[in-house]
Symmetry: none
Subunit: 224 residues, 2 copies
DNA sequence: CTTGACAATGGACAATTGTTCACGTATACA
DNA sequence: TGTATACGTGAACAATTGTCCATTGTCAAG
């Protein structure tokens, strides 16, 4: 855990004073209003005479991997929450909790257009003890089948999934034949990626298209 | 002001099927992507031929006080989460959550006598999905060692323990040699009970006194 | 039969909003 | 001395995006 945060910290280049101000305002605006600010709203807040002042900072923040944006689209930010150093300005003692919907079945659609009708409960996990970012988009799934027994994930387990691009070795929730299943994501350098069941009795391989992978598994919960 | 609460209750007219679909998609899009959808993105999702189909629904949702928007501004939604009444068709609607402290070390006694300093986080689990009683006194433990690998519980896992008398076959948190460990509780009829490690390489048996068993394991949480 | 709520189409308009080109100032670094 | 990074101005452009016009149809309630 400590390792993790320290590693994340290093990839995060230092922001300048001004850049941190901008970033903080963006975060704060979302927190207060429920949606992201437009560039001109940021401009106004800092009394810039030109939107380019904002643009410059946004570009810098993106280059320094602090934020992410969808080019051309309005008010589409994504904060990269590499946890701040010991200088945490937030009252970190308060137990912050992330709220995770439990999906019974998300088989029926595109991964980014999932119908939440399958929600059968909620799971809440303390941030500190699970390494989730506050602005998580995770959900939980009930595992069906034995395809992941070699990864110690069993039928009936609940898996917390975070929607994001997988890396080699990740366990992912994948949409295969209209059903959401867990698979191991394999991508050796250069070669095309594929999915693999983690059960020596079902050593099946699966092709990948962009709609297949719904997210990366981050935790398992099992009732005894 | 009492007006307010009454209004909120009464003004929350029932949404139609379609309206709920729209609302659900909007909510979902936000937690999937981190920002709200544009009207045309909603249109596309539902295969509307005109943005006006969306506009109509948004107006209806606003009139029914389900959402709020900033007119003229892009991707600015605000969901009004008046929890739906008993008419909810969702299975287990009332999301009651139990709050579970994560104890780093409870070796020194009963968990309810532990100083709060031993608490290293909190875990919250929906009652319905985990079968907890509301007036629980559960706590969570980090597993050390491999004594329960045959029960698919591994080093580093987090185990939710409910303090109560065990039954035959239960996995229990047990105080042995001043350390809390997980063991299988065995009590065949008539015979005296004992504890057993769930690892074929450590088939140890342990005697029991009344202070040994601290509670019954009810769930396992593992970070991947 | 009329009225109103609900659902959806089609096209056009205008505001919001992201983006770019050109240009200016500092500061630090080799 | 050049060069890179950070910071900012100014104006114009183009894409995204919300909005409104008119119109069609269904269905239940009064």
């Amino acid at each position: 855990m400590d390792n993790c945060s320290r590693i994340q910290l290093n990839t995060m280049k230092d922001l300048t004073e001004r850049q941190r101000e901008i970033l903080t305002f963006i975060e704060h605006h979302e927190w207060r209003n429920g949606y992201w600010p437009s560039i001109r709203e940021i401009q106004e807040k800092f009394n810039f005479k030109s939107t380019n002042a904002v643009m410059g900072h946004l570009r810098a923040l993106e280059k320094k991997d602090a934020i992410e944006r969808i080019t051309g689209q309005a008010r589409t930010f994504r904060i990269h929450h590499h946890d701040t150093p010991e200088v945490s300005e937030m009252p970190n003692n308060a137990t912050e909790v992330v709220d995770i919907p439990i999906m019974g079945d998300i088989a029926a659609g595109y991964p980014d257009r999932v119908e939440p009708s399958g929600e059968i409960g909620r799971l809440q996990v303390d941030i500190a003890s699970a390494g989730f970012s506050k602005r998580h988009r995770s959900f939980a799934l009930q595992v069906r089948g034995e395809s992941m027994v070699d990864a110690e994930i069993y039928d009936g387990d609940m898996v917390v999934v975070e929607p994001r691009d997988p890396q080699d070795g990740d366990i992912v929730a994948a949409l295969i034949d209209g059903e959401t299943t867990l698979k191991r994501y394999i991508q050796k350098n250069g070669e095309p990626p594929y999915l693999k069941a983690e059960n020596k009795f079902y050593p099946e391989l699966y092709p990948i298209n962009d709609l297949t992978v719904q997210g990366v598994a981050k935790a398992v919960v099992r009732s005894i």
